[in-house]
Amino acid sequence: MAYNSFPYLCIFLPLCWAAWALLPQRYRPAALLGGSLLFYWLMAGGYTVWLLLAAALTWALGLALGRLQDLQAATVPGLEKTARKAAKQQFTALQKGMVAVGVAGLLGLLVGLKYLPFLARFLNALLTRLPLGWQVTVPSFVQPVGLSFFTLMAMSYLFDVRRGTTRPAAHYWQVLLYLSFWPHVVEGPFDRWAQVSPTLLDPPKPDYRAFTFGVQRILWGMMKKLIIADRANMYVKAVFDDWTKYSGGAVVVATLLYTLQLYAEFSGCMDMVLGAAQCFGVPLAENFRQPFFARSVSDFWRRWHITLGAWLREYLFQPVIVSKPMMQFGKWCRTRFGAALGRSLPVWAGLLLTWLAIGIWHGAGWLYVVYGLYYFLLQWLGEVTEPALLRLCPALPQWRTRRWYRLWQMARTFVLVNLGMLIFRSNGARAALEMLASLRRPYAGSLLIKLDVQDLWVLGIGALVLLGVDLLHERGISIRESLARKPLPLRWAVYCGGMLAVMIFGAYGDNYDPAAFIYAQF
């Protein structure tokens, strides 16, 4: 039951909203939990058990961490200094151990269900080089929907409880609702417990304004997904799935359309997700902030899939670079390579790890490793060449404040991101390299692949509308707020126009190939 499907939009969502709104306030979380479990079960069937287990582990460890912290707060301050220090160390070790158990369990679930076949293939490839004749066989599991999302959210919950930035949930159903909440369980965003739990567990009264704003956002997401993304998918699928037939212009157009498709689809899905949650008064985290106005690839990743980047920055990159081994590595580097390089090397190591994690998170395969490495190399090259660039061009800091230079940076970032998209969408690392090489060969055939001229017009206009909306958002203009102040006939004309546009120009029906949400597979 995809977020853009007829059963979801016309049956599931209205019924859940009606149940949620009509029930007394204290039972509203039950409506959300019931809806979430039903939604997940319809998507994953028997594999729902993995979600239930992950929630049980997270809840139990969170509760135990909270109890330990309470016990520590109650007993330690009354002890003598030396005993206090020893007790504190013991409490810390116990808490770390619990978090380690949680991370091992959740990571084990993630690795076991998602990465095991890839790891076995990798290991077997290594073993074939040895004269031992050993091969490893592993069972292959079906990856339950949203696995990469709910396991990482569960880990963030444990980390936050351990850090004391949030209090643990008292009841199992509360953690289960947090992890299974249907708007974010399939494609995120990675919401934090502290951010969503107040409205999930103590829902606000139904609010007409929140409801209409939520529906408007769902409509905007539908427009992106059905009019742009699913239409672009026809061209992209034809070229990338049969890449040996195409070169030059066809590959360029397919890459540009894939970038458009992925942006329209993922951000459109987030609009549908955030809009649905808004109808229930739950504010989820924003996952996009006009990514194509980014002036560097690192800026791009602060605007694209924001919550994944934030998660990895907070729970991987920062802990890694301040960890004891990394501090020792930094010290070693400073003695060997001098102060400047000694400071940079641990950061680069942390960055490499983070980019590899971003790549691997997207899928179990070498292609995703290459994808992560691509962005690491871009960021690393940007940093190491900066001093030389400043020496070569002393006016660079001044230029960077100029409009034309900012436009150049955006254009440069756009090209680099598109190259990354080509790697990401290709059928394997070898295919990516060959497609990149094929860019030099002109393409003699027609560029109208699977789409007619009218479809390309729709895509062109759709891209311009996206750009226009992003431009307004970049300037801090809230379109929905502005629209809400307009007279009713104008508002209704806009909403009806949007709905008719989805129904008329949507790429659905016999002439199109409906595409599943790309990020749902991650």
């Binding site: 059963p7 007409y208 009218q454 209704w492 709905m499 008719l500 129904m503 008329i504 029906g509 016999d510």
Partner: protein, 337 residues
């Protein structure tokens, strides 16, 4: 009496939905094809071009029927007027609503309901999605014809639609391609019965009821298909037929098989029949209809002039089609050699 806030909001939502519904219906009207030729896949839409109350046998089905049953064959042989209303991926939900529309212009004595749509659906959809999507398509023409915006011009937007086009093949599409497969047994007994999905069965029963309301007799027919049909499905349909007291003819079964040779009679490896296979099925079904139902010979009758002229066009076309399919099947070459 003043309304509470929630009542005002509820009224506002209802009013908005009504406005939207009116716009959707109006847009659906303008997006309907200019000609009935393009109302549906294959040539199903041609039924609207037929004179009122001239069709005695109505065949309903999907692409297997559109490529497998040639009603003009019956007119040529027995004077039976028939039409194959069939198109790719037509579901039982679609068929029910289309039959309602057909009854507005025709009053068939026999409705031949082909059974393949009972089990087919697009792999990307669940049964529920398929059902809801198809039913919504039928209730809101805008959803079904939405892509026709590509063919709208300022000239044709407000012109009267012309739904008088007639198909000389009466809904059948002759295929001359040959892509054979070995004559392997695909109807072997596994002892199983594949039950018809609940909602599909419900709509099949609605079709039977609709036919009963219009005094049409129903005959369930399975067009030969080596790919997509098996004994378990036959058993499922047979159980439905028995439960509802309707006759059932499965041309895949040994006792009713009209002699399909899968090495030559299929266009695509066993999924659909070509003209060689369709001729055999049409012959067998025509014989059955002639034998079991009281169907008049309309040849030369007043009011059936268009049928006589279409039959002539059909006869003129046949030699070329037959020659082409035989060449493709290597039958002519074999004869020469």
């Amino acid at each position: 009496m003043s309304l509470r806030t929630w009542q005002k909001n509820a009224l506002r939502i209802v009013a908005f939905l009504l406005v939207l519904l009116m716009l959707v219906l109006a847009a659906g009207h303008y997006l309907m094809p200019q000609s009935n030729r393009y109302l549906e896949g294959y040539t199903a839409g041609g039924i609207l071009g037929e004179d009122f109350d001239t069709i005695d046998v109505l065949v309903l089905g999907d692409s297997n029927a559109a490529q497998g049953i040639a009603p003009m064959h019956w007119y040529d042989a027995y004077g039976i007027t028939g039409y194959t209303y069939a198109a790719g991926w037509l579901s039982m939900y679609n068929i029910y609503y289309r039959l309602q529309q057909i009854y507005e212009e025709q009053n068939p004595k026999v409705v031949v309901l082909c059974t393949a749509p009972a089990y087919t659906k697009k792999s990307s959809e669940s049964y529920m999605q398929s059902a809801l999507g198809d039913i919504a398509d039928e209730l809101l023409p805008l959803l079904r014809f939405h892509d026709n915006w590509k063919y709208l011009t300022p000239e044709n937007l407000f012109t009267q639609k012309d739904y008088s086009w007639r198909d000389v093949n009466k809904g059948y599409t002759p295929i001359t391609d040959v892509a054979g497969r070995p004559n392997l047994d695909y109807m072997y007994d596994t002892g199983a019965s594949e039950s018809i999905p609940f909602l599909v069965k419900f709509y099949m029963q609605r079709i039977l009821q609709l036919c009963a309301d219009h005094d049409s007799e129903v005959l369930l027919v399975t067009v030969p298909a080596a790919v997509g049909w098996n004994l378990a499905r036959h058993n499922g349909i047979a159980a439905f037929a028995e439960e509802n007291g309707v006759p059932y003819l499965d041309f895949n079964m040994a006792d009713t098989n009209p002699g399909i040779d899968w090495t030559t009679d299929t266009a695509d490896g066993g999924t659909h029949l070509n003209w060689l296979g369709a001729r055999k099925v049409s012959d067998a079904l025509g014989d059955y209809l002639q034998e079991h139902y009281d169907l008049a010979d309309h040849r030369g009758q007043a009011g059936y002039e268009t049928w006589d002229s279409d039959a002539q066009s059909y006869r003129d076309m046949l030699p070329e089609i037959t020659q082409r399919v035989q060449e493709n099947a290597g039958i002519v070459q074999d004869a020469q050699s």
